[in-house]
Amino acid sequence: MPDLADTSRPAAMRAVLSPRGVKRTAILAIFGAAVLVGPLVLDPYTVNILVRAFFVAIVAVTVDILWGYSGYLTFGQGAFFGLGAYTLAITFSELGFGPWQAIAAFGGAMLLGALVAALVGWLSFYPGSTPLYATIISLVLPIVLVQLIYSGGNFTGASSGVVGYFSFTFMTDTWFRIAGIATLAVAGLAHVLVSSDAGRLLRALRDNEMRCAYLGLDTPRLRIVVLVACAAVAAAAGAGYAAFGGIAAPENAGFIFGTQLVVMVALGGRGMLVGAIVGALSIELASAYLSSILPFMWELLVGIAFVAVIVTMPAGLFGLLGAAARRWAPWAFTAPEPVTLRTAAGRAEVAQAGTDDIVLEANDVSKSFGALTVLSGVSLTARRGELVSLVGPNGAGKTTLIRCLADGREASSGAIRIGGTATDKLPPHRVVRLGLGRKFQAASVFETLTVADCLRIARAGRDKPSLVTTSSELALPAAARSVVESSGLDARLEDEARHLSHGLKQALELAMVLALEPELVLLDEPTAGLTRAERQRFADILTDVVERERLCVLIVEHDLDFVRQISSRIVVLHQGELALDGSVDEVVNSQLVREIYSGHQVEKTGEVTQ
C-alpha cells in the first residue's frame, strides 16, 4: 500500500515517489539528456544561438510567473536582465576576471536586481494600486535604466555597451550545457513552486486580489516578494549572458527586449512554464534564422501572430495544445488527488469562555464624497453571539457602512474598534487580522482555483502553506466545515470554482470567510439571487454558527421576513443616519420601518419631512 510507505518516509521523498513526482523526474531526465546531447547533433551556429536563447528563456520563465501566474503584466524583466549583464561586465572590466570576481559579479547582480525590484515593487504595489499603473511603472524602469547607461560614459560604455573584458573560457558546447541545465533548474524550481500550496497564492492574486486582501493576505508585500525573487533570477540570467557573450549592451536592458519577452510568453502560452520556455527558444531561434532572410517581414509576422494569439487564443499555443491533449488523450493526465476534509484545531475555548464581550464598536462614523454626505454620525456596538441585521432602503448607506467597517481608510471621520483595536487608516488585510471577515454582495471567489484551493487560501494566514509540497488534506475550522458539508461543496472539492452554481459560490465564499475564524462577520446581501430552499439552508447555517461559535454577524438584508427569522437585533439606516436600533419586534412594528417598506408616508412623519 502506498499509504504505509508514505508515512514512513520524509515528505520530500514522498513527493518524488508519488505518481506526479515520477512523471516530473522523467520529464526532467528527458530534457536533461537532450541538453547534454544537443551540442553533438546540432550545428555550431544553432548551438551558439541556443545558448543565448536559454538565458532569455530563464527570464521568460520569470515573466510567466509574474504575468501568467500572478497577473502582473510587466515589461520590466528585460531591465533586470540588463542590470545583471552590466553588473558582471563592469565587475570584470574594473576588477579583472577571477574566481572571487565571478562570485562577486553574480552575487552583486542578484543583489542589485533584488534591491531595484524592491524599489519598483514599492512604487507599483500598495493597497489600492491598479494593475494598469503597475504595468506602466514596469515600462518606466527600463527607460530610466537605459538613460542612465547612456549617460554613464566609459563606466557603462554609453551606446556601445561594455565589451572587451576577460570572462570564462568555456567552449560553446560547455556553455550550451551550463545554460541548458540552468534553464531546466529554474524551470524545475518554478514548477515545484507554482504547484505547491504557496504557489496557489499567485493564481489567487491573479484571479481576485481584493478577495486576497479580505482574506487577510498582505497582497502588496506578496507581490513585492515575488518580484524581488524573479528580478534576482533575471539578473543572474543576464550576468550569465554577459559572461558568455562578452558584452553588455543597452538593448539587453531596454524596454523593447522587455516587450519581446512578453510576446514570447504570450505566443508560447502564459501561465504554463513550458509555454514560456518553448516560446522563448523558438522565437530566439527563428529570429536568428529569419531576420537575415526576411529582415522586416519577420518582425511584421511576429507582430501579426502576437495580435492574433492575444485576440483569438489567449492561452497561447501550448494552452491550445494542452486543451486538445486533454480532450483526445485524457489518460495522459493524472487525476487530481482526492482531498480529505479535516477539522482544524479551533479556538473552541475562546468561543465558550467569552461572556458578552463587545466585538464591534463604531462611534460617530461619517463618510462623505466632497459635499455629499452618505453616512453621518453612525454609532453601533455589537457583541459575540449577536446576529445584527442592517436594513434600510436603497441608498441608505448600508453598503457604505460595511465598507467603512471593513476598510480603516474608508470613513471620513469617527472611530471604529474591532476586537478592541482601532482600525483607523488600516488597510483591509490588517482589519481582517483583527478578527473581521467580509463576504461581498456578488460572490467573490477564485474562479480558476479548485474549491479546496480557495479554502486553503483562506487558511493561508493561519496554516503557513508549504513552498514545496502539495497537501491532499484540507483542515477547516468547525464552522467552515459545516458550511462545506451542509451545502454539498464537500463533494466538489476538486472542481474549479467557476464551474459552481451561483448558490454554491455564495456558500463557498461564506466558508472561506468562516475559515478565517473571524469574530465579526460582515455579510452584504448574502441571499440575493438564491432560491427559497437555498435561502432557508443559509438561515439555518447562519443561526447555527452564531449560536455554536458565538460569532458576531452583521448582515445587510432586504427581505424583512428573512431578517425577522434570523436576527437577534435590527438596525435601521435611513438617509445615511442610524434611525433605529432595537429588538426584532420593536423595529419591525415601528412606524418608520412600515413607512420605508410600504413606500407611502404616514401622516405624522410626513409632516416632519415637509
Partner: protein, 278 residues
C-alpha cells in the same frame, strides 16, 4: 530668462499635443493605447507623403489626422473591439498593433530618416528674446485642440453619448446608446490626435520609424496622473513640462528626459487616485 519661460510653455504644449489622443482613449475606454507611439510615427509619415504628393503644407496635419482616424477605426474594428472584457489583453493587443504599424512603415519607407520642410520658418521677438515662430504657433495649436475637444464633448450629441458611456456604460446601452459606436469613434479620434501630433512634430524632429517612441512614456505618465480628465492633463503638462524644461536646461537633457516619468511615478505613489479632483 525669457527663453526658459518660453521653453517651459512650448514644452508643455508639445506634451499636451502628444498625450491628448492617449487621454481620449483612456478616458472613455479605460485602456492605454500602446500603439500611440506608432500613430505619432504614422502622422509624421503621412505628412511626409502629403508633402511628396504636393499637398500644400497647411493640409499636411489635416491629411495626417485623416489617416490616423481611418487606421484607428480599422484597428478598433478588427482588434480592440474583441477585447473589451480583457483590458490588460487589449493593452497588449495595441502593443502588437504598434509593432505591426512600425514594421509596415519600415517596409514602406525603409529605416532611414525623412525630412519634411517646415511650413513656418523664422523667429519672433517675444519677452526680449528671439524665439522660434513655429514653437509659438504650437502653443496656439495645443489650446485649439484642447478647446476643440472640449466643445466636441460638451456641445454635441456624440459628446453627450460619450459622457454617458464614461459614467455608466451598461446604463447608457440600456438607454439605447450604441456604446460600440462611441468606442469606435473614440479610438479613431484618439489615434487621429496622435497622428496630428506626429504631423505637428515634423518641423522639430526628423521623420523616422521610431520618432513616436520618445513621447510614449511621457504621455502614459501624464495621462495616468491626470486620471483621464482633459483639464487635469493640461495642468499636468504645464507643471511637469515646465519642470522638464528647467531640468533639461540646468541639469542636462538626460535627466530632463526622465523628469516626467520619475516625478509622475512618485506623485502617483503618494496620491494613487491621480490629480483629477485636486
Amino acid at each position: 530668462m525669457g527663453n526658459i519661460l518660453l521653453d517651459m510653455i512650448t514644452t508643455s504644449a508639445i506634451l499636451f499635443l502628444t498625450s491628448a489622443g492617449l487621454l481620449v482613449v483612456f478616458g472613455v475606454m479605460k485602456i492605454i493605447n500602446f500603439a500611440h507611439a506608432a500613430f505619432i510615427t504614422v502622422g509624421g509619415y503621412a505628412t511626409f507623403v502629403a508633402h511628396e504628393i504636393g499637398l500644400p503644407p497647411i493640409l499636411g496635419p489635416v491629411f495626417a489626422f485623416g489617416v490616423g482616424a481611418v487606421l484607428g477605426a480599422l484597428a478598433e474594428w478588427v482588434i480592440v473591439r474583441r477585447l473589451y472584457a480583457r483590458p490588460l489583453d487589449a493593452i497588449l493587443a495595441t502593443w502588437g498593433l504598434g509593432l505591426i504599424l512600425g514594421q509596415l512603415v519600415v517596409l514602406g519607407f525603409g529605416r532611414g530618416v525623412q525630412f519634411v520642410p517646415p511650413p513656418i520658418q523664422g523667429t519672433v521677438a517675444v519677452l526680449g528674446t528671439e524665439y522660434s515662430l513655429y514653437r509659438m504657433v504650437l502653443i496656439l495649436l495645443a489650446i485649439a485642440v484642447g478647446l476643440g475637444f472640449t466643445a466636441l464633448i460638451n456641445g454635441t450629441r456624440l459628446g453627450l453619448s460619450t459622457r454617458a458611456v464614461i459614467m455608466n456604460e451598461q446604463l447608457a446601452q440600456g438607454l439605447g446608446i450604441n456604446s460600440a459606436r462611441v468606442r469606435l469613434i473614440t479610438f479613431a479620434i484618439g489615434c487621429a490626435l496622435a497622428a496630428l501630433a506626429g504631423s505637428l512634430l515634423t518641423p522639430l524632429t526628423s521623420v523616422d520609424p521610431l520618432m513616436g517612441l520618445p513621447y510614449l512614456i511621457g504621455a502614459f505618465m501624464l495621462v495616468m496622473v491626470s486620471g483621464g480628465s482633459l483639464p487635469a492633463l493640461a495642468v499636468a503638462c504645464i507643471v511637469l513640462g515646465g519642470m522638464q524644461a528647467i531640468i533639461s536646461t540646468y541639469l542636462g537633457s538626460v535627466l530632463g528626459g526622465l523628469t516626467i516619468a520619475v516625478f509622475a511615478a512618485i506623485a502617483l505613489r503618494l496620491r494613487p487616485e491621480g490629480f483629477a479632483r485636486a
